[in-house]
């Protein structure tokens, strides 16, 4: 009986370790989608507001390494139903110098946007 309990506990622990917990809904992490890999770049707090009817976003980024890093990003603008309300954006590049912190601003192209996802990848 004790062995069975131990085995069940071990399996549960292993399962917990294998998948990291999903980010809390509404948090900054829940808005970021890493496509591929994102090395040495930290996505920090985000400022989200609606100004003149359009959703505006400012994302703070931090290069945690001492060398220059280039990253690619694009925003996906979503409506109330969670589906895109604007055409897919092209990828843009941003260079972060060693240990640089930067703010990435964006404005939704349509007023119907109520949510967004920041898609990122680095080289």
């Amino acid at each position: 009986m004790r062995i069975k309990l131990l085995a069940a506990l071990t399996v549960a622990l292993l399962a917990g370790c294998a998948t990291p917990p999903p980010p809390a809904p509404g948090s900054a992490a829940s808005k970021v989608v890493v496509m591929g890999k994102l090395k040495n770049i930290e996505v920090g707090p985000m400022r989200v507001a609606r100004e003149n009817g359009f959703l505006t976003v400012k994302v703070s980024l931090n290069n945690t390494s001492s060398s220059n890093k280039a990253m690619f990003y694009r925003f996906a603008w979503l409506g109330n139903d969670g589906f895109p309300v604007a055409d897919e954006e092209g990828w843009k590049t941003l260079t972060l110098y060693g240990s640089q912190s930067s703010i990435l601003p964006a404005i939704a192209p349509v007023t119907q946007a109520t949510d967004f996802r920041l898609e990122v990848q680095s080289q």
Partner: protein, 246 residues
């Protein structure tokens, strides 16, 4: 017998509360038409023979310029006004005689038009005059991109008076505005961009109609339901304060 009396009484009650009848005019406006005529004619004849020669020439130039004021009605924007008034249920609508080029009276002289019987059967006339209409076409660059936004906008402002056809009392008066715009994102690869003009006109008409119905209801003391009141600022969603996501 009693039942019949009740039915007749009810019919009378409904008759007494029947909504008043309103005729909605098209938007009156006048414009200055200018004509410029410039005609030049010249002629030269010459004749020569062994013993004689003659020649003649003539030159005529005629120049005139005249301008006159043309009065008419803009017929494109009254459909939605009528529709929105019908939705409020405050009035019944009757069709008045439209103002045409053959009309003898002044388009702005609404009292004369009422007296001439242009709005037969109407208790009130909603008389609208065009204050201003303006098309805007702008191209704005978008920061951090190689794209531009092409915008076609139309704004229309009109002045309205609700006039009692019996007493000529003005029951309600206001200025209403309609705005509409079509926006397209373009870049250097786009050869030709055509903005949707009919859609802009429809938007303006719709907004104008809603604004007229809203102000009419407000001034006549019948407030509209909250969900039918729309902000006038291009129907943009209200601003929200900034929040920081962590």
């Amino acid at each position: 017998m009693r039942a019949w009396i009740a039915v007749v009484g009810l019919a009378c009650a409904f008759g007494a509360h029947a909504a008043p009848k309103v005729a909605v005019t098209d938007l009156a406006y006048q414009e200055r038409v200018e004509e410029y005529i410039h005609t030049v004619s010249s002629q030269q004849n010459s004749h020569a023979s062994m013993y004689s020669a003659n020649s003649s020439s003539s030159y005529n130039e005629y120049e005139s310029s005249q301008s006159y004021v043309e009065q008419t009605e803009l017929r494109k924007f009254s459909g939605d006004i009528k529709g929105e008034i019908l939705k409020t249920g405050m009035f019944q609508l009757v069709q008045g005689t439209p103002y045409t080029a053959k009309a003898k009276e002044d388009v702005y002289d609404v009292i004369k038009r009422i007296k001439n019987g242009n709005f037969k059967g109407a208790d009130y006339v909603l008389f609208g005059t065009l204050s201003d209409i303006d098309f805007q076409r702008d191209i704005n660059s978008l920061d951090r991109t190689d794209s531009y936004s092409a915008v076609l906008g139309l704004t229309l402002v009109a002045d309205f008076s609700l006039i009692n056809t019996k007493t000529f009392e003005i029951t309600s008066a206001f200025t209403a505005m309609g705005e509409g715009q079509d926006t397209k994102l373009v870049n250097g690869d786009d050869v030709r961009v055509t903005l949707n003009r009919p859609r802009v006109v429809r938007e303006v008409s719709k907004e104008l109609g809603m604004d007229v119905a809203r102000q009419l209801s407000e001034q006549l003391g019948q407030a509209m339901p909250e969900h039918e009141r729309r902000p006038m600022r291009n129907n943009l969603p209200p601003d929200e304060p900034a929040q920081i996501l962590r």
